[in-house]
Symmetry: C2
């Protein structure tokens, strides 16, 4: 690794750039008249709080074409990632391979909402074996073999984890990575 | 990086696992009655040896849905990659993002011909900023910021490059990486 290059950041998509949980809430409201409450999700995966008769319904929904295409952008993500992109070498890294139907949707979503991110800096993978300096992710499993700076982006499922440097929103990312 | 884990290898797809050049040759024969000779490609990109009136025809073909779906597998690639997979942590890493329409084809092709490679170990990217120990690739641009062992897989376009450790085929990869 050259010491003169810009620091590299890998930024996750789901629940970091894209509001996947909002989509789940809307989907269960519309298709099952079932209200999922954010308050019930504290420290839990969505599958853990779904009514028993719906507990295996989540994965097929995620596999549907289009699921990832219309997700809302997380508040302030566009502005902060744009500013990070000026200062750092920013990569968007999503474990998209788990859902074969998600790749084209995710690509189109990124091109729409983050058009300044070049195709060269988009990574769809499984294990995030990335040679970067900073990783922003809501899943601690992605930090396991990573030796750089780990920023755990708050999502309900990780609310009870307290052994990582945490960022609760994009303003907090900006405060940590853009202030100096 | 843990010192106890298996060594990680990143293996490229086009012209390493998949015979993209064979597809180009067939395509120009069928659609343009034009014969592309491997002998003319020594040290050159295909675009450099196409007749002038066809020189801008290549990119649209690569962008066609299906282009990457029926590529032939390179000789011995399946057997050797299977054996590597037993000894190493094998990742398939393709700069697929350059061609938005290639992602699903490449995914399906890998699932068909290399079904033992889990989705967790497939990476579609642009720049190959990977935390691996060994990289097998036909493009030296992918070696630029990589500090591990680089194996340049012979393809006509790289024939004149001589400052990298070279493997001419999958049997030579086996001899280097499976003999000890």
């Amino acid at each position: 690794m050259s010491t003169k290059r810009k620091l590299r950041i890998a930024i996750d998509m789901d629940e970091v750039l894209a509001d996947t949980i909002d989509k789940f809430i809307e989907l269960y409201k519309q298709r099952h008249q079932t209200e999922i409450l954010l308050a019930d999700m504290h420290g839990k995966e969505i599958t853990e709080i779904l009514p028993p008769h719906l507990s295996s319904s989540l994965r097929p929904y995620i596999n549907e074409k289009g699921f990832f295409r219309d997700l809302k952008v997380m508040p302030d993500a566009q502005e902060v990632v744009k500013a990070l992109h000026e200062k750092y070498d920013v990569y968007i890294a999503s474990a998209a391979m788990e859902f074969a139907n998600s790749l084209e949707d995710k690509q189109a979503w990124l091109n729409e909402h983050f058009p300044f991110i070049s195709w060269t800096n988009i990574i769809f993978c499984g294990h995030k074996i990335l040679d970067v300096d900073i990783m922003i992710d809501d899943r601690t499993k992605n930090f396991v073999t990573f030796n750089g700076r780990k920023l755990l982006f708050t999502s309900p499922h990780n609310a009870l984890i307290n052994n990582f440097e945490r960022v609760n929103n994009w303003q907090e990312v900006a405060a940590k990575l853009l202030s100096t």
